[in-house]
Symmetry: C2
Subunit: 346 residues, 2 copies
C-alpha cells in the first residue's frame, strides 16, 4: 500500500555511514531515500516536525562502552522527535495528534504507540524536546537530586547557554543559590547573565579563564554541574569547597577522544581532592529516572515555563539534511542554545 501523505510519496532518512574517528565528519552520515512506510494494524505513521540534537548522540555512534549498544552501520540515527500522526491504525491515536516520539533522523517513521507521549498543540511544541523534555529533566534531576544546592551556596554550571546548562542555572537561582555560568564566547556570556539571570558568566576561551573563575567564586564552589570535562574541570577542582557535590551528566570535551588523552594523569589529583574536601561525584543517566521522577518534574517545570521563570533559547536548523553538520557544530560548541532541527513545518 502506497498512501499519499499530503503529497509525500517517499521518506528521507539519515543513517550512520561510517564509524567516526574523533570528531565526526559529514561523510560519516548518509542521506537515503526510501519508500514511505505504511502502518500495519496497531501502528501509526508519524511525520517528524522537530528533531532534537543532543551530545549523547556522539556516544551512540561510538564503539566505546556505553549505557546502550552502539548504533550499527547503516541504521537510522536515533533522536527524540516531535511528530504529527499522519495515519493511524492504532485506536489510541488519531490523525492530527501531536506526540513526543523517537523517530530519529527521518521524515517519516512507524510506531506501535508504546514510545509515544501526547503533547499539547502549543505555540512551542519543540519545548517537549528541551525545557519540558529530556534536557530539562536532566537539569532538574541532576541539580536538585544530586547537587542539592542550598540558598547562598555557589553553583557553577558548564555549557551555561546550552540546553541543559541554561536550565540548571535558572533552577539554581530559583533555589536561592548564587550562579556562575561558563560559556564559549562573550555573546553567550552576555545572554546567560542578561537574559537568563545568572550572577556571572565566564568565557571559557579567555586565556585568564581560571583566574576569572576564581574571582567570580570568592566563596568557592559548592555544586559543579559537570557536562563538559576538559580544561574547565581543571579550573573548577581547586575551587570546590568541602562537601561539594558534582553531578556528572556528560563530558562533551572528550566525546571525540581517540583512546586516553596524553598526560599528565589528573586522576590522582582528583582522588586527593575527593578525600580532603569530602567531595561527592555522581554520574547519572536521565533515562533511569523517568518512571519515578518525570511527573514531578513536568509539574514544576510546566509552572516555571508558563510564568516565564525558566526559559531557553532555541538554535533552530532548517532541513533534515543539515542535521549532520549541526550535530558536529554542537560537539564543537558552535551552537547557541538548544539545537533543534525543523524537519517539516506541519
Amino acid at each position: 500500500m502506497q498512501q499519499t501523505i499530503r503529497g509525500a510519496d517517499s521518506n528521507h532518512r539519515i543513517v550512520l555511514a561510517a564509524r567516526p574517528q574523533g570528531l565526526p565528519s559529514v561523510q560519516d552520515f548518509r542521506l537515503e531515500q526510501t519508500a514511505l512506510p505504511a502502518p500495519a494494524d496497531g501502528q501509526v505513521l508519524l511525520r517528524t516536525l522537530y528533531l532534537s540534537l543532543d551530545p549523547y548522540m556522539r556516544g551512540r555512534i561510538s564503539e566505546s562502552p556505553s549505557y546502550a549498544p552502539p548504533l550499527a552501520l547503516g541504521e537510522v540515527m536515533v533522536g527524540g522527535t516531535v511528530n504529527r500522526v499522519v495515519a493511524s491504525r492504532n485506536p489510541k491515536f488519531r490523525e492530527g495528534d501531536l506526540v513526543l516520539g523517537n523517530a530519529g533522523w527521518q521524515q517519516y517513521a512507524l510506531s506501535d504507540g508504546m514510545d509515544l507521549m501526547p503533547i499539547a498543540d502549543t505555540k512551542h511544541p519543540s519545548h517537549a524536546l528541551s525545557l519540558l523534555g529530556m534536557p530539562g529533566f536532566t537539569a532538574y534531576h541532576g541539580l536538585l537530586k544530586i547537587g542539592d544546592p542550598q540558598p547562598g551556596e555557589t553553583v557553577v554550571v558548564a555549557s551555561a547557554s546550552g540546553a541543559v546548562g541554561s536550565v540548571v542555572g535558572q533552577i539554581a537561582k530559583l533555589r536561592g543559590a548564587r550562579v556562575v555560568g561558563l560559556a564559549g564566547g562573550l555573546d553567550k556570556c552576555r545572554y546567560v547573565v542578561e537574559e537568563l539571570g545568572f550572577d556571572a558568566c565566564i568565557d571559557r576561551h579567555d586565556p585568564q579563564f581560571a583566574q576569572l573563575l576564581a574571582e567570580a567564586c570568592t566563596d568557592g564552589i559548592d555544586v559543579y554541574f559537570e557536562n563538559v570535562g576538559g580544561a574547565v574541570f581543571d579550573a573548577v577542582l581547586p575551587l570546590l569547597n568541602e562537601h561539594a557535590r558534582v553531578p556528572v551528566c556528560g563530558f562533551i570535551a572528550h566525546y571525540n577522544d581517540l583512546g586516553l588523552p596524553s598526560g599528565p594523569d589528573r586522576l590522582p589529583q582528583l582522588m586527593s581532592a575527593l578525600v580532603y574536601k569530602r567531595i561527592r561525584m555522581q554520574g547519572f543517566i536521565i533515562l533511569d529516572q523517568y518512571e519515578e521522577g518525570f511527573e514531578p518534574f513536568r509539574r514544576d517545570m510546566g509552572a516555571w515555563v508558563a510564568d516565564g521563570r525558566v526559559k531557553l533559547r532555541e538554535d533552530i536548523v532548517y532541513g533534515l539534511d543539515n542535521a549532520p553538520a549541526a550535530l558536529i557544530g554542537l560537539l564543537e560548541g558552535r551552537n547557541f542554545g538548544k539545537v533543534v532541527v525543523r524537519v517539516a513545518d506541519e
Copy 2:
C-alpha cells in the same frame, strides 16, 4: 620542677627535620632529647605505650593542600597514642589511668585532658588505635554509610591485610556480601582468605592482576573501597557495575608523588564510567564523623571484636626510634597488618 618518673628524667621525641620529596627517608626525621616536661595546674603528664602509624601521616608532612595545615619543620610528628597517666594535676585523671591520646611521636607529653578518652585496661590496649579506633571507624563508616553493601553484592577491598581494609572486608562479610581482597604478596593473600574469611584475595603484584581480579568478580563489582589508587584502580574501573559505590578514603599509591604523574590522563575515562555506569564516588575524612558516628561504631565493633567476628593482625615495631623506618615501610606496603610502635612496656 624535674620530677623523677620511674627512672626517666628526659623525653625522647621525633620531629620533622626536612620536608620529604617523594618517599620520605629516615633523614627527614630527627630524634631529639629534651627535659621531661612537668604538668602545670590542670594538666597531666602522659607516657606513651603505643603509637599508631597511619598513611594519613604522609599528607601531614607534605606542603600540598590537605584537610589540616602541614606540620612545620621542627615540630613533633603527630599521631594517635595509647598513654599511661604518670602524673596528674587534673582532677579528671589519676596516675595510672590508661587513655587514648594524641601525644605524637614522643615518650612523654603533656595534655589538658580535653583530647583524652579513657580506655579499659584490657589485654589489648592497642586495639584502641586499630579495631576500636580510627582505622576501624574509617572502615565501618566508609563501608556502611557510603558503600552500603547489600547481601549478595560483590565488595572489593584494597589493602586487604591492612588496618582499614581488613576490617572493611570482615564487616562486608557480616553484611552478607561476597568479598574480594587485594593485597601485596601471596602471604598476605593467604592470611586474608584463611584468617579473615574473605572469599578471595588477589596479589596486586601478580603480572596477571587485572585478569585474576576479573575472574574473581564474575558478577562485577558493586562496592570498591578505595584506599590505594594507582594501578589497582585501573583494574577495578572496568569491572564496576551500574550504580556502583566507591568510598574514597585514601590513595596511598600517590602520597609520594611529586606533582602530577605522567600520562595518559585517566580522568576522562573515569568521568565516562561515572556517567554510563551511574557511579557514585565519595571522599570522606573520618575526623568529621566522630561526633555523630563514633558511639554506634564503638557499640557494634565492640561486640564484633569481643566475640571474635572481627579481628586484625598487628605489626608491632619496638622502640620509638624505629618509627621513621616503619612509616616509610607502611607507605611502601611492607607492613603486614596494623602498624603500631611499642614505645614503652608500661
